[in-house]
């Protein structure tokens, strides 16, 4: 299975209109000036995959993930990210050729997850995607600055990486 598109609405700098990003099955590159919103797309992926710590998405709390209105717009009432999968190979354990995962958070920080529009728990999403989307240690997601951390890591912590993998 692969991600056919990402949809964002009200998430960080992505405003109140729905933004749709159709992905390649192979390599999709995202470019643009400093501060344009590239890492915010990465944060959106972390968000919809159920990350529990807002800090990982460079936010103090989950309500900081809502579009704050920027320069004179009205702030978003909620932030929502959807991940659409092509599941024709049935790699995802669900009886559907297209699978849409979404997560919405409102100003109070309350989250609602959905699988194909039906409400679901975070655990159901994690179970559905664990085999394809997450690796022990989360090393399939290399965030901005992670390489520098790997460069500076001390030998003991580097060995602990292996402990955790084993």
């Amino acid at each position: 299975a692969y991600v056919s598109k990402i949809e964002l609405r009200g998430f960080k700098s992505f405003g109140n209109s729905k933004v749709s990003i159709p992905l390649s099955r192979g390599l999709t590159a995202i470019v643009g000036p400093n501060g344009s919103g590239k890492s915010n797309v990465v944060d959106a992926l972390c968000f919809v995959l159920g990350r529990m710590s807002a800090k990982l998405m460079r936010a103090e709390r989950f309500s900081d993930l809502l579009f704050n209105g920027g320069n004179g717009q009205r702030p978003a009432p909620f932030a929502e990210v959807s991940l659409h999968f092509n599941n024709e190979d049935s790699a995802l354990p669900i009886n559907s050729t297209t699978v849409a995962i979404s997560r919405r958070v409102d100003r109070s920080g309350k989250c609602v997850y959905r699988i194909n529009k039906k409400r679901a728990s975070r655990q159901e999403i994690v179970d559905l995607l664990s085999k394809s989307m997450s690796s022990p240690g989360g090393y399939n997601f290399i965030m901005q600055g992670d390489v520098d951390r790997f460069i500076k890591i001390d030998p003991f912590d580097r060995r602990i990486i292996i402990d955790d993998l084993a």
Binding site: Y2, V3, K12, S13, F14, G15, V19, I21, P22, L23, S24, R25, G26, L27, T28, A29, I30, V31, G32, P33, S36, G37, K38, S39, N40, V41, V42, L45, F67, G69, G70, N71, G72, Q73, A91, S132, M133, S134, S135, P136, G137, Y139, N140, F141, I142, M143, Q144, D146, V147, F150, I151, P155, F156, D157, R158, R159, I162, D163, L165, A166
Partner: protein, 155 residues
């Protein structure tokens, strides 16, 4: 417990050495346990020998060489338990044009098996993409995303 650790260590070690040689042609590197008898009492060192140089502890290497070695380590971790999607946000600072090209080629190869989303500021990295999106922030403070034609870029 040490059994499981050593199995994991050996498998990771193989991936790491292989990937390093791809990224640093003619170079070799290996993971070294400070205490092979009781690994948990020591750390994990990396010995790296780029072509034409002597074997050295990784912290004696240049900035870019350290980055390249760290990337080989990261990719080895990814090969250990492959996933369907990889997301890489600006992993290419510190690299010279030739190393950027090798990293780009390695990512291009992985993208045949897995889906990869790559955020980069470098032309040489974006040129290996199947799809390219540009992001800009408007005066309104809203990020706009648009598709970019890849044909015009130097490969």
């Amino acid at each position: 417990k040490k059994e499981v650790f050593m199995q994991t260590f050996n498998e990771l070690s193989q991936h790491f050495s292989k990937i390093f040689s791809e990224l640093s042609p003619g170079g070799v590197a290996r993971l070294v346990l400070e205490n092979e008898e009781s690994p948990f009492e020591g750390g994990l060192e990396i010995d790296a020998k780029p072509r034409g140089k002597e074997i050295t502890r990784v912290d004696v290497l240049s900035g870019g060489e350290k980055a390249l070695t760290a990337l080989a380590f990261i990719f080895a971790l990814q090969h250990f338990r492959p996933t369907a999607l990889y997301v890489l946000d600006e992993i290419d600072a510190h690299l010279d044009p030739q190393n950027l090209h090798r990293i780009a080629e390695l990512i291009r190869r992985s993208s045949r098996e897995s889906q990869v989303i790559l955020v980069t500021l470098h032309d040489s990295m974006m040129s290996v993409a199947d799809r390219l999106f540009g992001v800009t922030m408007e005066k309104s403070g809203i990020s706009r995303l648009f598709s970019v034609e890849l044909a015009g870029l130097a490969a």
